[in-house]
Symmetry: C2
Subunit: 300 residues, 2 copies
């Protein structure tokens, strides 16, 4: 089934303890789309400026991602993020953010996108995320990401959105912030009680937790020594997860858990290169081979 | 098979964000013994002072733990630890440490302990841990725990010990400290290359990682909302792990992984009460029931 994603498309400048890479193809919707494209047809909605290199769009189109919904603003500049990772490769400092055309992003879905059953709202202003939901009234599964900034400054809009969502994914620190509790099991269920039928808490190198009314579980990250650039790991996770759900056209508990595992593996490949570099070298077979290793790892 | 453990036996005063408990039965060898006693015969070596309440010894003996090796120093005072947990229940501040008789601990194993095949050296001075090893020349599996203090101040002795060990368990922060690397996969293998055939990195609420020449894996912690007191979680983990290995009298890769899972579950019960309170309420059946849940959690 087609999967619509709405979110940021960006140029990233990334500094790690051992390297620096400028002008990476970045943004949450980009990382999400690329990961999801191994599983299903992805329809991307985003905005870029006149400075956007055509080869970035080609890279996405080559993966079969529908870029009809990627609009380009004449005279505008693309959203740019510059950040530096700490030696632990988990904490990062944002050195510069230029929202540019993304600051005025008012997503309008192409007509054929509006029939979508599977929708992912990458991190963005909650009221804008809500506007997207209104354009896909026949959706079967809508999942969103969010961030600390909206929890702190747009709480009412975010809570209104949460009541319309099937699922919410967020970081461990964001779940704690939203619920004012330090225990992640309590936090996960407290977020769930705010609306979404399920909640996924992303813990970076420590994996991800899942919460529904009758389920609480955690899956570890795939252990890799080869962490080159964590940028977009969370979005790749969501892309692998949602891509698998859309491919299966099912979100029963069993399928959801397998989707969590696919998300975990998509993220594990994503961090093995700058931007989308590592993702460009893999196939669905590579993901499934790693899935076999991952299942073996968790069997005893 | 009998399992010998040598380490601290203590009185703990514990403060959490919501409660305080004084005069808990604590110490690394104590938590280890209690957890291991659900699996195999445990022979404890430790030292206490004249102030040691007889009911604490009875509590251990009631679980079938052999306390012949627990010596009491007339006129001495028992090792006391007082600590306070941060709201995250992971970080803690040591408010007071009185080593007392444990400061002069010179473990001498009773004659019938010296035939042991399974030995665990709970955290202690590396040169003292080494002296214990020399008393069990026929051992089949010797595993030790250590801490940041010895990594920083007794590095040579610790490295000498590590060359004699089959396995080493340590915390994530200690593994990073020992190897000067932030990536835990790299750190685990770097520690392993210093001697032990396998290394276990404990990550607290995020589970534990295992490293041998041909294996690298991570198992998540059992997710519980009911964290009352994390004191002794790492020792309970080691106790569950070693207890299972001794019970099976086998340490093949398959048994080791199952042992890691049992360690994880022993720790999950331990944190659900102050000191050994929760552990006193459970049976082996409770552990096996949770194992079934844990296996289900990791199947998809």
């Amino acid at each position: 089934m087609p999967l619509v994603v709405v979110g940021s498309v960006a140029i990233d400048n990334i500094e790690t303890p051992t390297a620096r890479r400028d002008n990476c193809l970045g943004g949450s919707a980009t990382h999400f789309s690329y990961a999801a494209s191994f599983f299903t047809n992805v329809r991307l909605v985003g905005v870029v400026g006149e400075d956007w290199p055509a080869e970035h769009t080609e890279l996405l189109a080559k993966r079969g991602i529908d870029v009809t919904g990627l609009s380009q603003v004449t005279g505008g500049k693309t959203f740019t993020w510059t950040g530096r990772y700490e030696p632990n490769m988990n904490d990062r400092e944002t050195l510069e953010v230029e929202l540019n055309v993304f600051g005025e992003f008012d997503p309008v879905l192409p007509e054929d996108y509006r029939q979508a059953k599977y929708v992912f709202l990458a991190n963005g202003v909650p009221s804008v995320q809500m506007k997207v939901l209104e354009q896909v009234p026949g959706r079967r599964l809508a999942v969103a990401d969010t961030m600390d900034l909206w929890i702190q400054t747009q709480r009412d809009d975010l809570e209104e959105l949460m009541r319309e969502l099937d699922g919410l994914v967020l970081n461990d620190s964001e779940a704690k912030l939203m619920t004012d509790t330090e225990n992640l099991v309590e936090a996960g269920h407290a977020v769930r009680e705010m609306g979404p039928r399920f909640v996924v808490i992303k813990k970076g190198e420590h994996g991800a937790m899942f919460f529904s009314e009758h389920e609480t579980y955690v899956l570890p990250a795939y252990p890799t020594a080869d962490v080159v650039d964590p940028t977009g790991a969370g979005d790749s996770f969501a892309g692998g997860m949602m891509g698998y759900l859309a491919e299966q056209d099912d979100f029963s508990p069993t399928t959801l858990k397998r989707a969590m595992a696919y998300g975990t593996l998509a993220a594990s490949f994503n961090v093995e290169g700058f931007g989308l570099e590592r993702m460009q070298t893999i196939t669905r077979d590579d993901i499934d081979r790693r899935m076999q290793e991952y299942e073996n790892m968790l069997s005893f």
